[in-house]
């Protein structure tokens, strides 16, 4: 046990740290889920596309564009890139089966990773700061000693997650576009005979996922302080783990899965000193395995609820 087990500031720090990281995993998991729901594909390049988007933000801010406008532009560009890749690369390959698609996303992973390294180099660059990230940009909660505070970055990341979940909920549940998207996710062929342009729903899923990924990568970079061509490598693993945990076809599941994963990875090594920090990854994956053994469809995933 950690000697700090009865220290409220220490526990609260683990909590906010876990939630912040968890929110970032949740954003990546959301992107993976939004692609998976309609097309049943897992885009292994989701993280690298996000890195590319974050570098677009970096490039724009370096040229003097205000950071939130830069994020908005990168968001739209990523949407177009995601939708375009679905239409131009994934859909033609899909007719040949699942493996060509997986290989194509793996190829995209390598190409984008190398491309980013060629254009922006392999050295980390200073991350753009959409949220004030200075040493004084925090809310003091406990004056201590020991003190406890929450940084604006932590609050901002959580606020972005909440805002995005709300926005996605409105988009999917309250608009006709969302109804069409969910219909395609529920039953592709039936959606087609209702006259829904199924292909456009695929593009929409890929586009919105890429845009979310870009936002996630910008926040990951700010949290880490720097951005480099491998920034999203490990985060993609955690995003996949969070999506598995929550259930691959569930939007709320992705959010909960990410947050749970973040908390587990903060608290397990934080409380049990026998667990080295690096082992938190293993612990997280063990949790995922246990959940999958008990509930193979994940926490919120749907077993197809159909009677004959």
């Amino acid at each position: 046990m950690s000697p700090n087990i009865d220290n409220p500031a220490y526990l609260l720090t683990l909590l906010t740290g876990g939630l912040t990281n968890g929110a970032l995993y949740a954003l990546v998991a959301l992107a993976i889920v939004l692609v998976y729901k309609t097309t049943s594909h897992i885009n292994l390049a989701q993280g690298e596309m996000a890195t590319l988007g974050a570098f677009a933000v970096f490039e724009l801010t370096r040229r003097g564009v205000p950071v939130w406008i830069a994020i908005g532009i990168a968001f739209l560009l990523s949407f177009a890139l995601g939708a375009g890749l679905e239409r131009g690369l994934i859909r033609p390959l899909e007719r040949r089966g699942v493996f060509p698609v997986i290989l194509a996303t793996l190829a995209l992973f390598l190409i984008i990773n190398a491309g980013v390294a060629i254009i922006w180099g392999t050295q980390p660059v200073e991350a753009p700061e959409p949220i004030p990230g200075g040493i004084e940009d925090k809310v003091d909660v406990l004056t201590g000693p020991p003190p406890f505070f929450v940084t604006y970055v932590s609050l901002g990341v959580l606020a972005v997650l909440v805002a995005l979940l709300l926005g996605l909920w409105l988009l999917l549940e309250k608009t006709k576009l969302g109804l069409g998207y969910r219909a395609v996710a529920a039953n592709r062929e039936a959606a087609q005979v209702m006259g829904i342009p199924v292909g456009r729903m695929y593009m929409f899923g890929w586009g919105i996922a890429a845009a979310l990924g870009t936002l996630a990568a910008a926040l990951v970079a700010e949290t880490a302080g720097t951005l480099d061509f491998n920034s999203m490598g490990v985060i993609l693993i955690f995003g996949l783990a969070a999506a598995t945990l929550g259930g691959f076809d569930s939007v709320p599941g992705a959010a909960v899965g990410g947050l749970v994963l973040g908390l587990v990875m903060a608290f397990v090594p934080g409380l049990f000193t026998v667990v080295e920090g690096d082992l938190s990854v293993v612990i997280a994956l063990v949790v995922v395995l246990v959940v999958l053994l008990v509930r193979p469809q994940g926490l919120f995933g749907t077993k197809t609820l159909e009677r004959v």
Binding site: L179, M194, R307
Partner: protein
């Protein structure tokens, strides 16, 4: 003679190398109910899929004179066709009401859509009771009613029904066909029905076709089809 509402001429359709339809001719007149009979694997479902552009097709499929072959499914549906697929194919993770709204995908008249939803709730009260429930949790008969109502939400000129009685209790099948008859009479929606229950379907349809190995071997009025010796032996069992 004016061209029928739906006209299939020399239609060939294939899944990859396997040709399922081999020169099929068929027509459905305005306001007419036509039943398509045939053994399993004769190509009945494929005929409906060919009309909707869901299988590689050659030949001519015309709706009110307009060629449908080579068009994407969503375009075909916009021309006024509704397809109720086999095994119902409701959206299990959507509510009953959302299913009906998806059926009205190509319509813009919000008030009309709402009125039609209420109307089908009136026709199928079970759906009204379950309007907020997920469609996947309903019984087979309820899902079938939902699938039919969802198809009609698009206000089609032509309704394609693939085995509507499959897996339904006889009493529910009767009720369903009674509803279809009423819809045909009152709305003059034309129907092309694929049905295993030949006796029931022929009692409702004006004309029938018998499909064998991908082409029509017999066509005529319901009475003619019913009266055909071979037909009776093969499909009606007496």
């Amino acid at each position: 003679m004016a061209e029928a509402l739906l006209q299939l001429s020399d239609v060939h359709a294939a899944y990859g190398e396997v040709e399922v339809l081999r020169g099929l001719d068929l027509e459905v007149g305005e306001g007419e109910v036509v039943v398509l009979l045939g053994a399993n694997g004769a190509g009945k479902t494929t005929t409906l899929r060919a009309i909707c552009g869901m299988v590689g097709t050659r030949g001519s499929v015309r709706l009110a004179g307009q060629e449908l072959v080579g068009r994407p499914t969503e375009w075909v549906i916009r021309q006024g066709i509704a397809h109720v697929p086999q095994g119902r194919g409701v959206f299990g993770s959507l509510s009953v009401e959302e299913n009906l709204r998806v059926g009205a995908w190509n319509r813009r008249d919000t008030a009309g859509i709402q009125a039609d939803i209420e109307r089908w709730y009136g026709v199928f009260p079970r759906l009204a009771e379950r309007r907020t429930q997920l469609a996947g949790g309903m019984s087979g008969g309820e899902q079938q009613m939902l699938a039919v109502a969802r198809g009609l939400m698009g206000r089609p000129r032509l309704l394609l029904l693939d085995e509507p009685s499959l897996g339904l209790a006889q009493i529910i099948t009767r009720e369903l066909f009674r509803q279809l008859e009423q819809i045909n009479r009152e709305e003059s929606v034309s129907m092309l029905i694929v049905e295993q229950n030949a006796e029931l379907a022929l009692s409702f349809a004006g004309r029938g076709y018998v499909l064998e190995s991908g082409s029509i071997v017999l066509g005529g009025t319901a009475d003619e089809v019913r009266g055909n010796e071979d037909m009776r032996r093969a499909y009606l069992g007496y």
